[in-house]
């Protein structure tokens, strides 16, 4: 083949030596600049192999002169970010949670921090939008079992609810009225009728009337004579429109018969106080947060007047 190489007359360039039906190929030299770039990339590649991890070995790769690694870079960036946030975190650590609202900037920072921590620790039960699900409270609404001001939320997160192993955890236990034989099934039905009556789901009936007496004797201790609940015991308000497990007859019969025993972990054992503070601020910001009951300003802001479902919306 090489024998056929010759100088092409028209271009003055050598041919590569092949020939197909009279068609030949020119061996046109590369432009100089192209060659320069080629050598530049070769030099770059050699330099790259020396300073960066490049050659695979059995247990990893050559480390490279600069000691760069993607994990190292992540650690460095995380450290940078922590340094940047340090003053905010220090201020959050200093500020008692009930003083946060007087510093809107710090509060906003806490809410944003809480938003991301919530996505890691809380969404498994409460859902990504904090809307909860059956048995797991919706944190967006204005109904709170144990209280909805910043301080109370903070304590709930720190010590959890009915969490074994935390002395300060929120504790209460509803008796299993049916299962333990305190009420017979007929009486359970009557109590349920009464509860559905006070929550405006059923009209008055003889069963509800019987249930009223049973309620006063068995349930009012925790849920109150007016069935509006008691936050010191986490006893839910039974007259409102919000049901943690469901307000239909079957679910209520279940609840009265077997009781409920919802547990929330005590996060004080796992998270640092600043994260808990931020989580509390976030949960409080979702729209149902209540004012500090100790605060003097809008006294007794709670207790919305007779809960006529949806009729006297926001005065």
């Amino acid at each position: 083949m090489a024998d056929n190489k010759r100088i092409d007359a028209a271009t003055g360039t050598s041919t590569v030596g092949h020939e197909w039906d009279g068609i030949e190929e020119l061996d046109t030299p590369m432009p100089r600049w192209w060659l320069v770039i080629l050598w530049a990339t070769v030099v770059f590649a050699i330099g790259y192999c020396i300073v960066y991890p490049a050659w695979p070995l059995i247990h990893g790769a050559t480390p490279g002169l600069w000691g760069w690694s993607s994990r190292g870079q992540l650690a460095q960036e995380t450290a940078q970010e922590n340094t940047r946030r340090a003053p905010i975190m220090a201020a959050l650590a200093r500020t008692p949670i009930d003083r946060l609202p007087s510093d809107p900037k710090l509060l906003a920072a806490a809410v944003e921090g809480g938003r991301s921590a919530f996505k890691v620790y809380c969404v498994q039960c409460h859902g990504s939008g904090a809307a909860g699900s059956r048995g797991y409270p919706n944190l967006n609404d204005d109904d709170w079992l144990w209280g909805g001001d910043l301080k109370t939320i903070q304590q709930t997160i720190t010590d959890g609810i009915r969490f074994p192993g935390d002395d300060k955890t929120r504790m209460s236990q509803m008796p299993a009225f049916g299962r333990d034989g305190i009420l017979n099934p007929g009486e359970v039905d009557d109590v349920v009728s009464y509860v559905r009556y006070v929550s405006h789901q059923e009209a008055a009936s003889a069963a509800a009337k019987r249930g009223k007496t049973l309620f006063a004797n068995n349930c009012a201790v925790c849920h109150g004579a007016d069935a509006k609940g008691n936050r010191t015991m986490g006893a839910p308000n039974l007259t409102d429109a919000i049901w943690l497990y469901g307000g239909d007859r079957d679910t209520l019969v279940q609840t009265v018969t077997n009781a409920r025993y919802g547990i929330m972990p005590a996060w004080g054992h796992r998270l640092d106080p600043v994260t808990i503070k931020m989580l509390a601020a976030y949960v409080h910001s979702l729209g149902g947060g209540e004012a500090d009951p100790a605060a003097p300003a809008p006294a007794v802001a709670a207790a919305p007047a007779a809960a006529q479902a949806g009729e006297n919306v926001g005065r």
Partner: protein, 498 residues
């Protein structure tokens, strides 16, 4: 085809090495015009970032500033926000149409006088001339072998070029940050890395494009010469060698007298009483050309119409007692007229033709439209985004709450309060920080000067109603000025709601 039967000569070349161009110094009308335009354009470029313009305490006091970090573009009394980027687009369209207008009227005036590539190349050529001498000295130096003198001269030239290139890149960054602050930071080594890298890149490109590549940028790299051939017509100005006047050339007058018949057939004709042209073939027009072309070969892509050959030719024509403007700005139409012995078209008639008038009307229309829009634009705005997780929340009294993120834009240099109201459904609302007890028909939000405020707005409505209702948030300024804006959204209720 076999190459054997093709004659080995001549050898066509597919690649051409750069022909070195050593433009000679020249003086004249167009050279002085170029000086003036160079002074003005360079002054605008270097001085603009240092101009101050007081805007009050809430905005920077730099007259022209592209504040990328805060997403603002300031130009004297005009402040553009990113949502108004169409003003910048309008400005770019005006620049393009303006270029079309100029090109159709006076040809490649942009290339010859105002293009940064031309201005900086011109500057670099002058530096080169100051160090290495004029054309002939430069050619001699180029041919000389490397010695002390060549190294010294080339070195000095490169250093000065580099300084110019650095100040060019240096001036650019001042458009993007407060110039005095950045200058101090830059010199003390505390400026952001991007400032140094930008200056580095622009130094490199200025040095390479202005010092080393020069006319090759215009001839090989720039798309504009190709585009503008579509803008030009037979009534656009172009630098033209008036061959009907110049030809036949009287080449080498003195030498011709010795070898009359061989070298100067024109002289023979002159002796025979025939007409000869004004061109004496002195090559002055070629020597001064910054792109190294011979204008006498006719219109060509290498001609940036800088007019320097006109100056050079005029000098010679005066010396040989001939009328000037053997090379001059002429249109193709005039050229045809002149060849036929007619008189050129009056300039006004040439300028006012449908093409230029339409370009001008488009240009002026966009300009007037933008001025009107700028003068009447509202300095506020609102955008509403419904929270979608969860879409709705049932409250203890059975009512339904929806949540919205409302962004309020205050483009004025003072804090303003706005009332947000709602239409579409019967609802009450409150903003974050408030509560249902304080809910009302409106919410007041105060936005800091020159900022966007983000607020969460909670809206409560009775449970009874459509699963999805349309809402309109309207924002009204509370400072007596009648400015308002609105944005629509939805109110959602649970599925299968009573």
């Amino acid at each position: 085809m076999s190459g054997a039967d093709v004659a080995p000569e001549p050898k066509p070349r597919f690649f051409e090495a750069r022909r070195k161009v050593f433009p000679r110094r020249v003086d004249g009308t167009f050279r002085r015009l170029k000086w003036a335009i160079m002074a003005v354009t360079l002054a605008i470029y270097y001085v603009t970032p240092w101009l101050r313009w007081h805007r009050g305490e809430y905005a920077p006091d730099q007259a022209v500033l592209v504040d990328l970090a805060h997403r603002r573009f300031y130009m004297f009394s005009i402040e553009i926000w990113p949502n108004e980027f169409y003003y910048v687009v309008g400005l770019l369209i005006m620049a393009a149409v303006g270029l079309f207008l100029v090109t159709s009227a006076v040809g490649r005036a942009w290339c010859g006088y105002a293009c940064p590539q031309t201005v900086w190349t011109d500057l670099f050529v002058h530096v080169e001339r100051a160090i290495e001498g004029d054309r002939n000295a430069q050619i001699r130096l180029d041919r000389a072998s490397w010695g002390v003198e060549k190294i010294a001269k080339r070195g000095t030239k490169f250093v000065i070029w580099l300084l110019i290139a650095m100040t060019t890149g240096g001036a650019w960054i001042f458009y993007f940050a407060d110039a005095p602050t950045l200058a101090r930071e830059f010199l003390t080594g505390t400026a952001p890395f991007v400032a140094y890298s930008t200056v580095g890149i622009l130094t490199f490109t200025t040095f390479t494009l202005g010092g080393l590549m020069r006319e090759q940028v215009c001839i090989y790299m720039c798309p504009w010469p190709r585009i503008q051939s579509a803008m030009m017509d037979e009534k656009s100005l172009a630098v033209t060698y008036k061959d009907w006047r110049g030809e036949p050339r009287t080449h080498g007058l003195k030498r011709a007298q010795a070898h009359e018949a061989e070298v100067a057939p024109s002289l023979v004709r002159l002796a025979q009483g025939e007409k000869v042209g004004d061109c004496i073939d002195c090559n002055a027009c070629v020597a001064v050309c910054p792109t190294g072309i011979d204008i006498r070969e006719g219109p060509q892509i290498g001609c940036i119409t800088c007019g320097l050959c006109i100056d050079a030719c005029d000098e010679i024509m005066e010396k040989v007692d001939r009328p000037t403007r053997l090379i001059g700005y002429t249109t193709e139409a005039d050229m045809k007229l002149a060849r036929a012995g007619g008189t050129p078209m009056p300039p006004l008639k040439r300028l006012l033709r449908p093409r230029t008038i339409i370009y001008f009307l488009i240009w002026a229309g966009i300009g007037c439209g933008m001025l009107f829009a700028l003068g009447t634009r509202t300095h506020m705005g609102v955008s509403v985004l419904q929270t979608r997780n969860p879409l709705w929340v049932r409250l203890s009294d059975g009512a339904i709450r929806n949540t919205y993120t409302v962004k309020l834009r205050n483009m004025e240099g003072r804090p303003r309060s706005f009332a947000v109201s709602l239409s579409g459904i019967d609802a009450r609302m409150w903003a974050d920080g408030g509560s249902r007890e304080t809910a009302g028909k409106t919410v007041t939000i105060t936005v800091p000067a020159d900022r966007v405020a983000k607020a969460q707005i909670f809206v409560v409505a009775p449970a009874q109603g459509a699963q999805r209702s349309e809402l309109l948030f309207t924002v009204t300024a509370l400072d007596g000025q009648k400015s308002s804006a609105s944005d629509g959204s939805y109110f959602e209720r649970p599925e299968g709601n009573p």
